[in-house]
């Protein structure tokens, strides 16, 4: 079957930080700061991280996981309102195979004691978005079960 399967997903994560919005915005807009929380800490090696923070500018992250897979994020900044909002569009690839394309919105609100962050991702996952090894087992078991069920 050659039909391309696209699955869409939207999720929202809310956080609160005890610093003013400008400090949170700095962590989104300063390459040295963003690298630390975005690219690093996933148990992978950060092979490269480049960022040009302006509308139309790009950001690229390449991480190498322990299992040898290379994860690439290719980002374009779509909307920037200083101290308040960043909207980005990004593709995720595994070993040069594009597996998803998403829109992310960061919204910052001052709340007296600090900053509320609302993070929204709207994603399109393409066929094979589970990744070559990541959840192959889960899907093939489901399809095996389904195949048996339909045959009986």
């Amino acid at each position: 079957m050659s039909e391309t399967a696209v699955v869409h997903s939207t999720f929202v994560i809310e956080r609160n930080f005890p610093v003013p919005p400008e400090r949170v915005f700095a962590a989104l807009s300063d390459p040295a700061k963003k690298r630390r929380w975005f690219a690093e800490g996933e148990g992978s090696t950060t092979e490269s991280f480049e960022m040009d923070f302006r509308v139309g500018g790009t950001e690229r992250t390449v991480r190498r996981a322990k299992n040898g897979l290379a994860f690439t994020n290719d980002t374009v900044f779509r909307d920037i309102v200083s101290g308040t909002r960043v909207v980005i569009a990004y593709n995720m690839s595994v070993n040069d195979r594009r597996i998803s394309s998403s829109l992310i919105t960061y919204e910052l609100f001052a709340n007296g004691k600090g900053t509320d962050l609302i993070f929204t991702e709207q994603a399109a996952f393409f066929e094979g978005a589970d990744g070559p090894k990541i959840r192959e087992e889960g899907w093939s078991k489901l399809l095996d079960w389904l195949g048996n069920y339909l045959a009986n």
């Binding site: 079957m1 956080r15 930080f17 400090r23 975005f38 994603a123 899907w139 389904l146």
Partner: protein
């Protein structure tokens, strides 16, 4: 044979209905005969059968006839596929935002 997308769509369609969610919740306590599902939910047997068809097609539930009684039970693989698919990206971002929080807390302390 269902595509991956169709399989996930069916799970979400199945869970999108409150009566079907109630059926799944009931079945998570243990297998139940089809005929005994109707009364607690206050719906007809025909309606139960229709809901079960959707749940079976989605892979969340399986029914089988033992003697003259048809019983249904949860099929664990169906739920875990949906959960894992939703959780994958979300948890990646949860970890990133956790690290952002730590970074900002460190910066706040330095001042």
């Amino acid at each position: 044979m269902l595509t991956q997308r169709a399989a996930v769509d069916r799970v979400f369609h199945a869970l999108g209905d409150p009566t079907r969610r109630a059926i799944v919740e009931k079945l998570s306590e243990g297998p139940v005969s089809v005929s005994s599902l109707a009364q607690p939910l206050d719906i007809t047997l025909a309606a139960v059968v229709q809901h079960l068809q959707i749940l079976e097609a989605s892979g969340l539930v399986q029914t089988e006839k033992v003697g003259r009684v048809r019983t249904c039970h949860i099929e664990p693989k169906g739920l875990s596929v949906a959960e894992r698919w939703i959780n994958e990206r979300r948890t990646l971002w949860e970890r990133r935002l956790d690290r952002l929080g730590k970074l900002l807390a460190e910066d706040a302390d330095e001042k």
